[in-house]
């Protein structure tokens, strides 16, 4: 069961393995001994810092002087910070465009591969490779070459007599190159879809076929409904991760978020506020704002899932 499946069962109140603890002597000592490193990590590196950044959100703190309580000053500053709203718009565009495109692409290719083909594992590996490399600085640097004014893409376009712009240095296209990079890493959701497709019992397809359902009908009445939990899983996780993208925008724009802030992701702006401006209070407030946005999107996704996700249990 996936992490999200686990969450779903927990939310429904029938926790995985909801057995009576007290009936068979619980072994608290051993439990906490084995859990000790994780528990220390949870307190020191997760819960502690979460509370600290919540506190810092209401302060002015530059690392040198002690934090100064300023109440809601950071919030009101955020409301009037046009660069922040622009960065949020850039991030939202990235999330809303790149995630669905990547998933549709991944599902399409997975369905092509699931036709019991020879060489499936070869194609699966080839398509998966970019997912492994896509987050690296090296690939982002390669992207600057591929989409540069004298790059690979324009070289290709020139065969057809088209003179392409400098994609990376044009404010209208720079974000698009990062979206293409994200779509290029369609392999990992594709692998998950493929595993899901292979779990659909063949008899469902056979039964539908016997009832005279054509290919398209079978997709919408058998494949798609049975795959919705996996699509949902991918959608939720990819959205959460896409909101946090940083490296690609940083490298492709040379750390500036340019041209004219067109690749200034929210996370990039946050990084600059924290580590260039040393405005830790403001950056913390931004981080909590991001958390709230992501939580909102995730909750909305879960709510929406009642209308389209089909659970076979």
């Amino acid at each position: 069961m996936s992490a999200l499946g686990e969450l779903r069962t927990m939310a429904k109140g029938r926790g995985s393995g909801r057995r009576d603890v007290r009936s068979k002597n619980p072994d608290n000592k051993a439990g906490f001994a084995f859990l000790a490193p994780w528990l220390v990590g949870l307190v020191v590196f997760t819960i502690g810092p979460m509370l600290a950044s919540l506190y810092l959100s209401f302060t002015d703190y530059n690392l040198l002087q002690p934090p100064r309580w300023t109440g809601l000053d950071n919030v009101s500053e955020m409301l009037g910070d046009e660069r922040l709203w622009n960065s949020l718009r850039v991030t939202l565009t990235y999330v809303v465009v790149s995630v669905p495109l990547q998933l549709i692409f991944a599902l399409g290719i997975a369905m092509l591969l699931d036709r019991g083909m020879r060489g499936l594992s070869f194609y699966r590996s080839v398509f998966y490779l970019p997912s492994l490399l896509g987050g690296s600085v090296a690939i982002a640097i390669l992207w600057r070459q591929v989409f540069g004014a004298d790059g690979l893409v324009n070289g290709f376009l020139s065969w057809f007599g088209i003179e392409g712009p400098g994609w990376i240095s044009h404010p209208d296209f720079a974000l698009g190159t990062i979206i293409v990079l994200h779509i290029w890493t369609f392999g990992s959701p594709m692998v998950i879809f493929l595993a899901g497709l292979r779990q659909i019992p063949e008899m469902y397809h056979e039964a539908a076929q016997m009832d005279g359902a054509g290919k398209i009908r079978r997709f919408f009445s058998v494949t798609f409904p049975l795959l919705t939990p996996i699509i949902f899983f991918n959608l939720v996780l990819q959205i959460i991760f896409a909101f946090q993208s940083f490296t690609q925008a940083y490298i492709v724009s040379g750390g500036t978020g340019g041209p004219s802030d067109s690749t200034m992701f929210f996370t990039l702006y946050l990084y600059r506020e924290a580590f260039t401006e040393l405005d830790m209070g403001y950056a913390s407030a931004m981080a909590w704002f991001l958390l709230i946005i992501i939580a909102g999107f995730t909750a909305f996704n879960f709510w929406l899932s009642r209308f389209w996700v089909f659970y076979d249990d």
Binding site: M1, L35, P49, G116, L132, S136, L270, A274
Partner: protein, 307 residues
């Protein structure tokens, strides 16, 4: 609610073996029909498009810098290994091997730390009944989804107060405390699918949890350990934000940060060296991929790793 002592709780778990069934498990005819040929052709074209940038990257490492911008083709017109010679020399007086060994040290430490701490936590969640197990398990799943920006600034402030900025410790210590919940979860799933007969027999023979963990569970979850090790290595190797924040002096830089140096300082002049060091940085990941692709693909297929 507790998760300790749970075994298989949903049919989905039974159906998801960690190692996916071999390709072509579904019985359909493999005859070449025109439709099938079209599909093969489409997939092959796509594979070429997907791989082309990487092939171009590799072959471009042999192009002299002056050829960039003029020759967008695959093959260099006047092949040279000058780029590699320049890259090996390093940048700013720091040789390449230094960046490389920094990266290697960070990645190996992360693998050791993650395997150690995640397997212990996973055993506790999957096999021991104790108070609060359910809440802790929920917290673990929660940290999977938590955006790291809300914790990274106070972490930085903490390490700065401890005077550990510009050392490797901020990047290594968290790995020994199982902060990558993905791997805890992966191992929990794996342990839950191991029948309990063996531990129960060992327990009757008087073995404690440590004994059962060391001599029964660990050997049985080897595939999950290998998958976790490979992913930890690759993610740490590619990690950018962590080293960017914590490591300030160039002699401590791992490869991705050194790469940025090339990207920032020489982006207008020395394309050749920049491309060559990019390729060098990808090389270990490519090797891992070639050797362990089955583990990687199966790991993603069953656990939905973000990889």
């Amino acid at each position: 609610m507790t998760t300790a002592g749970s075994q298989i709780t949903s049919p989905a778990q039974l159906e998801v073996p960690l190692v996916a069934p071999p390709a072509g498990g579904r019985r359909r005819s493999l005859k070449l029909t025109p439709g099938r040929i079209a599909v093969y052709a489409a997939l092959t074209v796509l594979a070429i498009i997907v791989l082309y940038p990487m092939l171009w990257l590799f072959l471009s490492t042999f192009k002299p810098s002056s050829e960039f911008g003029q020759n967008q083709g695959l093959l260099p017109e006047s092949p040279t290994i000058d780029n590699y010679l320049k890259v090996i020399e390093g940048i700013g007086g720091i040789p390449l091997w230094r960046f490389f060994s920094n990266s290697l040290l960070l990645a190996v430490a992360a693998v050791v730390g993650t395997l150690f701490s995640s397997s212990l936590a996973a055993y506790a969640f999957a096999r021991i009944r104790f108070k609060g197990a359910g809440i802790f398990f929920a917290a673990m799943i929660g940290t999977l989804l938590l955006p790291f920006h809300v914790i990274i600034l106070p972490q930085y402030i903490m390490f700065q107060r401890l005077d550990l900025v510009d050392t490797f410790w901020p990047l290594i210590i968290p790995k020994f405390l199982a902060t990558e919940a993905f791997f805890v979860f992966l191992m929990v799933q794996f342990i839950r699918n191991i029948p309990r007969d063996m531990d129960e027999a060992a327990r009757i023979d008087g073995a404690g949890h440590l004994r059962i963990f060391m001599s029964i569970i660990l050997p049985l979850i080897k595939p999950a350990l290998i998958t976790s090790a490979i992913f930890t290595f690759i993610w740490t190797w590619n990690d950018f934000l962590g080293p960017l924040i914590y490591l300030t002096s160039p002699e401590n830089y791992p490869l991705p940060i050194a790469l940025r140096l090339y990207n920032d300082q020489t982006s207008t002049s020395d394309y050749g060296a920049t491309i060559a060091i990019s390729f060098v940085a990808l090389l270990p990941v490519l090797l891992f991929f070639l050797v362990f692709q089955r583990f990687l693909v199966d790991g993603v297929a069953t656990q939905g790793l973000k990889g």
